[in-house]
Amino acid sequence: MKIPRISPETLLVLDRFIERPTDWRYGYELSRETGLKSGTLYPILMRLEKYSMLEACWVTTEEGVPLRHTYRLTSDGLELARTKLAEARPHSMVRQPAFCSG
C-alpha cells in the first residue's frame, strides 16, 4: 500500500474524518471544521483520493442546486488515519475555523 505524504494539515483533515468514520463529509464542512482554506484543503483531498485513502461521490442536496461532492475514508484510509493520529499529538492540531459568517 502506497502512503501519501502526511503534513500537519493532512492530519487535521484525517482527524475530522475519523471523528465520524462512516459519515460522508462535504468540502466546505471540512474547511470550516479544520480552518483550512480551499486552496489547502482540496490538494489534500485530491492526494488522499489518488492513493485510495478516500472515496468520493456526488449527491443531490436540493432541487435546482448543483450536485455536491462528498467524501469518506476507505478502510485503508481509516487504518492510515488511526496510525498517523496515534503517532501525532492531537492537541497540537487545533485551528480556528476559516470561513465564519459571524
Partner: protein
Amino acid sequence: MQLRQAATVILESAIRIAPPSSRDWGRAMMGELNFVEGPWAGTMWALGSSRVLAKQALVSLIIPGRRGEDYVPDGGLFANSATLRKAALAMGCACILAALLFFAAPPFRQAFKVALKPWHLASGNIQPGFVAVAKQAEIKHDAEGEAFCAVRLQDSRESARLAEEAVRLDPNLLWVYAVVAMRYPELSETNKWVEKLERWDPQNALVPLITAESIHRANVQRGGGSPPTKEQEQAWQRAMAAAFQSPKFDDYFDRIAQLNRRVVPRYGFYDPYEVQSREQIDLPDSALENSQRFAQSLLNTGADLEAKGDWKGGRGRYWTVARFGQLIDSEGRTNREHGMGTTLQAMAYSQLQASAGKEGMQAEAALFGYLAAKFDPAKGKHGGLPGESAFGRDTSERNAAVVEISGIMILFFSGLVVVALSILIAGSRRRARLAAKRAKPVATIVVLTSAVGMLFSSVTLYLTYRPYWYIFQSAIQNGDGMQTRDMQEFLNSTQMLPGVSPHAFRTFTEALLYAGSPSFLFYVWAGVTLLGVLGLGLIFLRHFMGRPRAQAP
C-alpha cells in the same frame, strides 16, 4: 452579489483551463461555493480553488498526463480533425516553398552567404571560394583572375606565386607587386619587385615606403631589439628620403576597383566581403612608425639649421614633412593612410608655428597653430574613410545583426522542419510505432510554426540586405563608389557575433573567448536562443513524459 458572481466566473474559468483529471474536483469546489456564506468568504473560496486548478493546469502543460493519467490517445490539437491537420500541413508546405523560392533571387543568395560569414570564420574556413577561382584562372591563363586572387589571398607564398604568374601573362599588371608587397613586405621577392616598380612607376611614394618597410621587417626578424646595421640604416634613410621627395602617391585602389569590375562577373564571384574588404589591403603596419621617425629626424635637422641662422634651410625641412603629409592625406584611401598624413602635417605645422613665432611673424604663427590643431590626431577632427555614411554606423551594425540572426534562424527552422517532417512520414506508415503516431499532432504544429518562421526569417533577410546588394552591384557594374562606406561598416559588423561591436574584437573567435563588452542586442540574441532551447526541451519533455506506460496485468 456582484462579488459572488465574479468569484463564480473566476472559478468557472479555472475549471475550463484545468486538465481533464482535475475538472471533477473543480466542479466539486464550485458545488461547495454555493454553500459558502458571505461574499468575501465566497470570493476567497473561489480564488483558493482557482489557484489549485491553475497549478494543476500548469503542471499538466509542462508534464502532460503525469504517469499517463491525462493522456488521451491521438489527442491534442488536430486530434479530431484530419482536415485541419491537412490544411495546416498544406499551409506549412506553402511557406517552405515560398522560403525556398527566395534562393532563386541573387540578392537573397548573397545575403545568406554574408549571414553565415562569422561561422565560416569560426570554423577556420577563412576564404571559401578563392581557391576555386585561382585554379580556374590558372587553367584559363587569365592574368586578371590571378591578380584578383593574388591581392587578397592570405597565404603569402600562394599570393606571390599568383602575382608573378599574372605579371608574366600581362606586364601591365605590374602594380599587383606593390599591393602584394604592401601586405607581405617580408617576401623574398620584394627587392626584385621594388626594382621593377621603380622603373615602372618611378614617382610613386608607395614604392620607397615598401622598401623601407622591407628593411625594417628584415631587422625585426634578425633580432628584434638590436639596432640596424650601418648599411641597413643608410638604405632605410635613402628609401624614406625618396618617399618624402616623391611627387605622387598611388595606393592602386582605383586599379583594384577596375579589376573587381572585370573579374567578379567573369567568375560569378559575388562575395561582397572578399571583394569589398579593404582590411587586408593597406599600407604596411610600420609605415606610420617609419614615416614619423624620418619626419622627426627632418624636423630636428631643420631646428639645427635654424639654430645656426639658416632659417630658409630649416623651413625647407619642415615643409618637406608637411607636403608629404598633405600628399598621403589627399591621395590615400584608407584610415591608416589618412592617419599617417594628418599626423605628419600636425608635426610639421607645430614646428612651423614655433619657427614663425621666433621670427615675430604672428599672423603666420597663428595660421600654423590653427593647422597643427586641425590635423592633430588626438583631437580627431580630421581623418577617417572618405565618403559619407548615409545609413550611419549604428544602422549598419543593427542591419548586420538582423541579417546574421535571420540567417541562423533559417537554418534552425529548416532543421526543425526536417525533423518534424521525418516524424510525420514515420508516423504515417502502417506499422509505425505508437510513439511516432502519437507525435504526429505535435509534429504538425512544429512543421507549421517552423515553416512560418522560415518564411519570416527569409523575408527579413531579403529586405534587410537588399540595399547592400544594390550598393555592391553598383560598385561592381558601374564603379560607383557612393555608399561604399555603408557597405564597409555593414560587412565589418557581419564578421562578428550579432550585437558585438566589430571594433572590439578582430575575429569572431576572439569575441567568443574574450567577450568583454557585448551590447544590449547581444543579450537579446542570447535570450532568444535560450528561450528557443528551453522551448525545444519543453516539447521533448511533453512528448516523453506524456507517453502511456505499460499497465500491470
